[in-house]
Symmetry: C2
Subunit: 416 residues, 2 copies
């Protein structure tokens, strides 16, 4: 496993595949490909933060509750308008929250400290320069970097882009991942189930897993284990995709046809030929003229596990996303667990709270039975190292979660 | 706040708005609207789980390493084919993993316990009935409920749907949410910034927030604070949407025009008129002929906070999703915090680990300055209750996270 990862890291450095410009309304969930710099001061003008009167602060100096200053009203400033009023010594202008400060004014007197008498306004408190004024550019300065590249755009960042009037956003392209299944026994779901056939699971589950990484999947369906058909399918996939995933081929074996074909298609060809882990031993990884090809096991739970361990981190980098650290949960194992002989073993588990509040990890069968129903029951996995003889029932282990929100579900159980 | 929630719960029960049928390739991320029942036994036939020979188990009884039983080879069964061979007493058929068990056979002898001699095979171990056979229906039985309604379809569930050949899936419709902004000062981002104008943030940020809940947003842009324009916009929104959100209207005030217009459009009209919290006091909630209308504050951070507290839980129910329990993180506050007088106060904070590994919550200004840039810096919020005088610097509080993956980011910091 470690060697496979080392070889992979040595032969391929995942990078974003490109960038494109999208409208603000399509930017949610995408990943910024460039730092975003504001072309404007935000706010673009000095703004009142209260309802009241725009004044020259110096005109209010000395004003007190019992000793008001009287100033002459020269006009009114509304929000959304260029102020027509001009505040000169001895005058003030009515203003509302959010409206631009008129020329000559440098503070805003809150309405509760004033009294209106016809065209005159009594001010009963002194205000200093800048009080109740939000200065132009105090939120964002023209030329300032507002968002850094690599961030996934949530509602908050969409709001920041809108704020600076950025309606076109440069985001990373979604890598295109071609996916096909092989095997004489698999047929497309929905077709009639001829004797000896089963419905293809992997191309569909892996397509969804690829989308979950921020990539676009191209489900190429089922390809027969014939060298020519395989070669045609792989050539087509390599032409259109940024990464290729195949799975299955139990009868003839991916260790037979696929690696041979891959070695004829480009350099360096197969770089990893089998990984000493369970499940996932027959995993083959090739690099064909710069494009990675993963050949995953046919067993659905195994192929999703290998996807999680090997493919997902690479696709996340290629999509420009920041890799999330795995979230692990301390749990107690429900039974004694044995590794596959001499191989690092990944045990898929479900998690639940027991009556004493401990989180208990129970293995999900990834063997021949329960291959399908258990897929949707797995919360995460634990690892038995090559040199471990077993993990004792009741001992404490770290379980890595498949889905982050399993964490909040467990918290909810706790709250009940 | 509690009363507003009570009134809301008493006048409106959020329910999924409808269901639609989508193709398997479009089902990822959608929410199942019906239990899914299998029309097939999975596997559809008795399957070999190993490479070897299909036999009558009784023919191997008594076989041992030094005392093999000799059986006659009658044929071979491949994967994906109806078996032509028939196993009778004294015979066996070659078989590979995943291939159907031929008629007459009830066990599979693993190849490593056999020796081939022309048309005869020596079997060196006894096998019991059913050994190395995965029975038809052992994974999923015909008529069995495979997935329960209400689940959000992840790659694992997509795999389960494929397994049972389910290519059309009934999922909940995405509720349609109409959104517009009001205010004389706001203009569409991208337009030229006339004096006194600022770019509209809310319609864009709220559209993304609505999508995050599994709904479709209809951004209707900016509507002027004029009763007729407002009435036309609200009527249009109420006709096309399952829920309506407006924000802003500072100059004339949402407490003026919008509630009046809403009360003319249908019953019961405005049900909540202002909420005693900070930020978000001017929030107005109306129910117009069964459709909820939320009028949120104009301040972007406030409107997103009120969305989070009031609107999001309702939209999640309407989208058919299960509500996620809030994830909270224990943190230490960086400074003494005061509530707004007499109002429950929601303080937006950023979280970071300090050198001793404690998580420190620092308030993000939601006041007049920093309204925009800080939007994208907020990790979550803490609550100061109405009856609390202040929260002391250094005291321990629960911070509710806006984004679940903040949790894993904090874990990553810990790991470093």
């Amino acid at each position: 496993m470690d060697e496979a990862k080392r070889i992979l890291a040595g032969s391929f450095t995942p990078r974003p595949v490109g960038s494109e410009v999208v409208a603000l309304s399509d930017a949610y969930g995408r990943v910024l490909a460039d730092d975003v710099v504001s072309s404007f001061d935000i706010p673009p003008f000095n703004r009142s933060t209260v309802d009241g009167y725009a004044v020259k602060a110096s005109d209010t100096f000395g004003a007190e509750e019992n000793c008001p200053v009287t100033l002459r009203l020269t006009g009114r400033v509304n929000v959304g308008e260029a102020p027509k009023a001009r505040v000169q010594k001895g005058t003030l202008a009515e203003i509302v929250t959010g409206a631009p400060i008129p020329e000559g004014a440098d503070a805003v007197v809150m309405i509760e400290y004033t009294e209106r008498k016809g065209d005159s306004v009594l001010v009963r408190q002194a205000f200093s320069q800048g009080e109740n004024v939000m200065k132009a550019g105090s939120d964002i300065r023209k030329g300032e970097t507002v968002l850094k590249k690599g961030i996934t755009l949530s509602p908050y960042e969409i709001g920041a882009l809108a704020a600076i009037g950025s309606v076109k956003t440069k985001v990373y392209e979604r890598p295109i991942v071609a996916i096909f299944s092989t095997g004489a026994e698999v047929i497309e779901p929905g077709k009639s189930l001829a004797p000896g056939k089963i419905f293809d699971i992997n191309a569909h589950a892996l397509s969804a897993a690829v989308e979950e990484c921020g990539c676009e999947s191209r489900n190429m369906g089922i390809v027969q284990d014939q060298p020519n058909q395989m070669k045609t399918a792989l050539q087509k996939a390599l032409k259109t995709a940024d990464l290729v995933i195949t799975s299955g081929g139990v009868s003839v074996g991916p260790t037979d046809i696929i690696p041979k074909v891959l070695n004829t298609l480009g350099k360096p060809g197969v770089v990893v030929y089998g990984v000493a882990i369970r499940p996932g031993k027959p995993t083959t990884i090739a690099l064909v003229n710069g494009i990675l090809v993963f050949s995953l096991p046919g067993h659905p739970a195994s192929s999703l596990m290998i996807f999680h361990l090997f493919v997902r981190p690479i696709l996340i980098c290629m999509a420009g996303r920041r890799e999330q650290e795995a979230v692990t949960v301390k749990s107690v194992v429900s039974e004694r667990l044995f590794p596959a002989r001499g191989r690092r073993t990944y045990v898929t588990v479900t998690l639940r709270k027991d009556q004493s509040g401990r989180i208990v990890a129970s293995p999900v069968s990834t063997g021949s039975s329960g291959a399908i129903t258990t897929l949707s029951k797995a919360d995460g996995f634990l690892i038995i190292r090559e040199n471990q003889q077993f993990i004792e029932k009741g001992s404490c282990v770290e379980v890595e979660l498949f889905k982050l929100n399993t964490y909040s579900s467990l918290m909810r159980e706790e709250a009940q």
